[in-house]
């Protein structure tokens, strides 16, 4: 299984991380690495999540993350 990293921009509010990690947990995908920092002068936060999974897992995961109402954008940064 290939390592992959997703970058998300989300609302910087209570419960967001729970919603996002919940999608990973629902798909039984372990989070290997996680960074989360607020964006300067905004109400948003940027998160990088690294996990392992094949292409179909990644595609489905991205679609599910994009369905979250407190997530503004989702980008697969690795592999490009």
């Amino acid at each position: 299984m290939e390592k992959f990293t997703v970058e998300l921009t989300a609302a910087n509010s209570c419960g967001v991380l729970h919603h996002i990690s919940g999608v990973y947990a629902k798909c039984r995908i372990n989070i290997d690495a996680l960074t989360f920092a607020p964006e300067a002068e905004s109400e948003l936060a940027v998160m990088q999540v690294t996990s392992k999974g094949n292409e179909s897992v990644r595609t489905h995961l991205l679609k599910l993350l994009l369905k979250l109402y407190d997530v503004k954008s989702v980008t697969l940064t690795q592999p490009k």
């Binding site: 609302a11 910087n12 509010s13 209570c14 419960g15 729970h18 919603h19 919940g22 947990a25 629902k26 109400e43 948003l44 179909s56 595609t59 489905h60 679609k63 599910l64 994009l66 369905k67 979250l68 109402y69 407190d70 997530v71 503004k72």
Partner: protein
């Protein structure tokens, strides 16, 4: 204007079009119930006997009206009791706004009395949930909840409001942080889809709950006529076309009709509209799509290629995509394919028998129900018999728990649906197992004077599980024989409803001619414990493995 959190809740509900809500009071929602008392002239609250049934009632209300159902419960056990109902609504894409109280903010995280982190509990079963910390957030949060519940694929949204937030006043609304992000999707190009449809010689439309929730049944019928194709349905989509419609191929899947299985075997293209290709509907996915092209249209992008890979996947609301498609789709004629459909349809006419068996019970009840009657089911064999034997006439007239398969769903949902239609008669088919899970809600149906007609398919066993034990577990009937002595007619009378025991078709006929107009009637119909719900495809199997007769048992 300075207002309390509880008052903001009521004002926001009214602003979003709420006229009726279902619920059960408790310590952590007392301020909201005080406001409900003051606003009873404009908000009708239906007090249920149990929170789970309250959320099923809100679900039934939502499926009937197309508007979000609203339910309210207290913290702790009240909130926890909502879980099954929320999950039921989530899997069937039903819009709900669920409001829970919680202990005051300073008490959160301290295992306080009736404290429950309900937003964590419901994270995986809601479309979104909000934990509110200030009364100044409430107005925007409630507006957002109504928007999200209906946006795209509908679903349940939960708002958890601590008690101090309900009591505190708000001087100025909080406008700072964004509450949700939306994504607009342009209508996709349909040229490739039209080309593929025109090239097919045996197209089959597979229609699901998306057609019902998108209220696109008119477009579906026009499409079927335009491309001269039969239509098969998932359980959630079954009423999109009347049962007697010549293009109707019945329900497909594990308990689908033999007719639908033949059509699926023979077709060369499946046009899937608002379906999930759930394991119950498609079984072995590889075999399901073998030798066929698949076009999948759904409002939810995560459904495309999830279970079955599509040759063409289109994301969009069924109503708008089909409207667009019908603007340019040429009329097609496929007489040989039509002839095939007609020839196999004739083979599926059931034999005539005159006893109280499922084949006769459901049509006999239907004779006494108006065309606009809503039919609700619980979960089990009676649910499958309803799909096979009830002659549906009106789109959206069936309420059933398709995705989660929630036993006990029916009575609450029937109450919600009847309330939504101004107290009209609603028909509930249930089993003795399912009814045993929610029967206390008869009290609500009586207090609200609802003329529900409740048909209990009473065979003294948990019939569907027993059927599986017969078929796949060497007739080891482990805990599926109920051995209960419940007298359902007497029980109904104890609640203030009507009740009769039915053992023959004549008794059924006579009971149906004399239904109470202002309270529920429970007909306890005695069926043989070894009646089966057939056909059946073994779990994980393909349509080639369909069992249509009870042989060798």
């Amino acid at each position: 204007m300075v207002r309390t959190g509880a008052n903001i809740v009521i004002e926001s509900l009214c602003r979003n079009g709420t006229e009726t809500l279902f619920g059960y009071p408790g310590g952590a929602v007392l301020p909201i119930y005080e406001e409900l008392y003051r606003n009873s002239y404009r908000l009708r609250h239906i007090l249920c006997a149990h929170e789970q049934n309250a959320v099923h009632a809100a679900d039934g209300y939502a499926r009937t009206t197309g508007r979000p159902g609203v339910v309210i419960a207290t913290s702790g056990p009240g909130a926890a009791n909502l879980v099954t109902g929320i999950a039921t609504a989530g899997l069937d894409s039903v819009p709900l706004v669920v409001i829970t109280g919680n202990v005051s903010v300073p008490l959160l995280g301290k295992d306080s009395f009736q404290e429950l982190d309900i937003t964590s509990v419901t994270r995986g079963i809601t479309k979104h949930n909000f934990a509110v910390n200030s009364p100044c957030e409430l107005s925007r949060v409630i507006d957002a909840a109504f928007h999200i519940a209906l946006d795209g694929r509908p679903g349940p949204v939960l708002i958890d409001i601590p008690k101090n937030v309900q009591n505190e006043s708000c001087q100025e609304e909080d406008e700072s942080s964004p509450l949700y992000f939306t994504r607009k999707r342009p209508l996709p190009a349909l040229d490739a889809l039209i080309r593929m449809l025109c090239e097919s010689s045996r197209p089959l439309i597979y229609s699901g709950g998306g057609i019902i929730s998108g209220r696109a049944w008119g477009e579906l019928e026009e499409l079927a006529n335009r491309i001269d194709a039969p239509v098969v349905f998932s359980m959630m989509g079954l009423t999109a076309m009347r049962s007697s419609h010549p293009r109707n191929g019945g329900m497909c899947g594990m308990h689908g009709t033999a007719l639908s299985a033949e059509l699926l075997k023979k077709c060369d293209l499946i046009l899937a509209l608002g379906v999930r290709f759930s394991d119950r509907a498609s079984g072995n996915c590889e075999k399901f799509r073998e030798g066929k092209k698949i076009i999948h249209i759904d409002i939810d992008p995560s459904e495309i290629n999830k279970n079955v890979s599509a040759d063409i996947g289109i994301t969009g609301s069924l109503k708008s995509v089909l409207t667009e498609l019908l603007k340019t789709l040429p009329r097609q004629s496929r007489p040989e394919w039509q002839q095939f459909h007609k020839s196999i349809k004739l083979k599926n006419v059931p034999a005539e028998i005159k006893t109280l068996v499922p084949e006769n019970l459901f049509p006999a009840v239907a004779k006494y129900c108006d065309e606009d009657c809503v039919i609700v089911t619980d979960v089990g064999q009676h649910q499958i018999w309803t799909m096979h034997y009830y002659p549906f006439k009106t789109p959206g007239s069936l309420l059933t728990s398709g995705g989660l398969g929630t036993m006990g769903y029916g009575l609450g949902a029937a109450i919600g649906s009847s309330v939504a239609r101004g107290g009209k008669r609603t028909l509930l088919f249930t089993g003795d197992g399912s009814f045993g899970m929610s029967l206390q809600e008869l009290a609500t149906a009586v207090s609200q004077k609802l003329p529900l007609l409740i048909i209990i398919c009473n065979n003294g066993v948990l019939g569907m599980v027993r059927q599986w034990q017969t078929m796949f577990y060497d007739q080891h009937y482990s805990h599926t024989t109920l051995n209960r002595q419940t007298d359902f007619p007497a029980l109904a009378r104890a609640f203030g409803a009507e009740g009769k025991k039915i053992t023959t078709l004549e008794e059924l006929d006579s009971a149906l001619q004399d239904l109470a107009p202002d309270r529920p009637t429970v007909l306890d119909c005695r069926l043989d414990k070894d009646e089966w719900a057939l056909p059946i495809i073994p779990p994980g199997g393909s349509i080639e493995e369909m069992i249509t007769e009870k042989k060798g048992i």
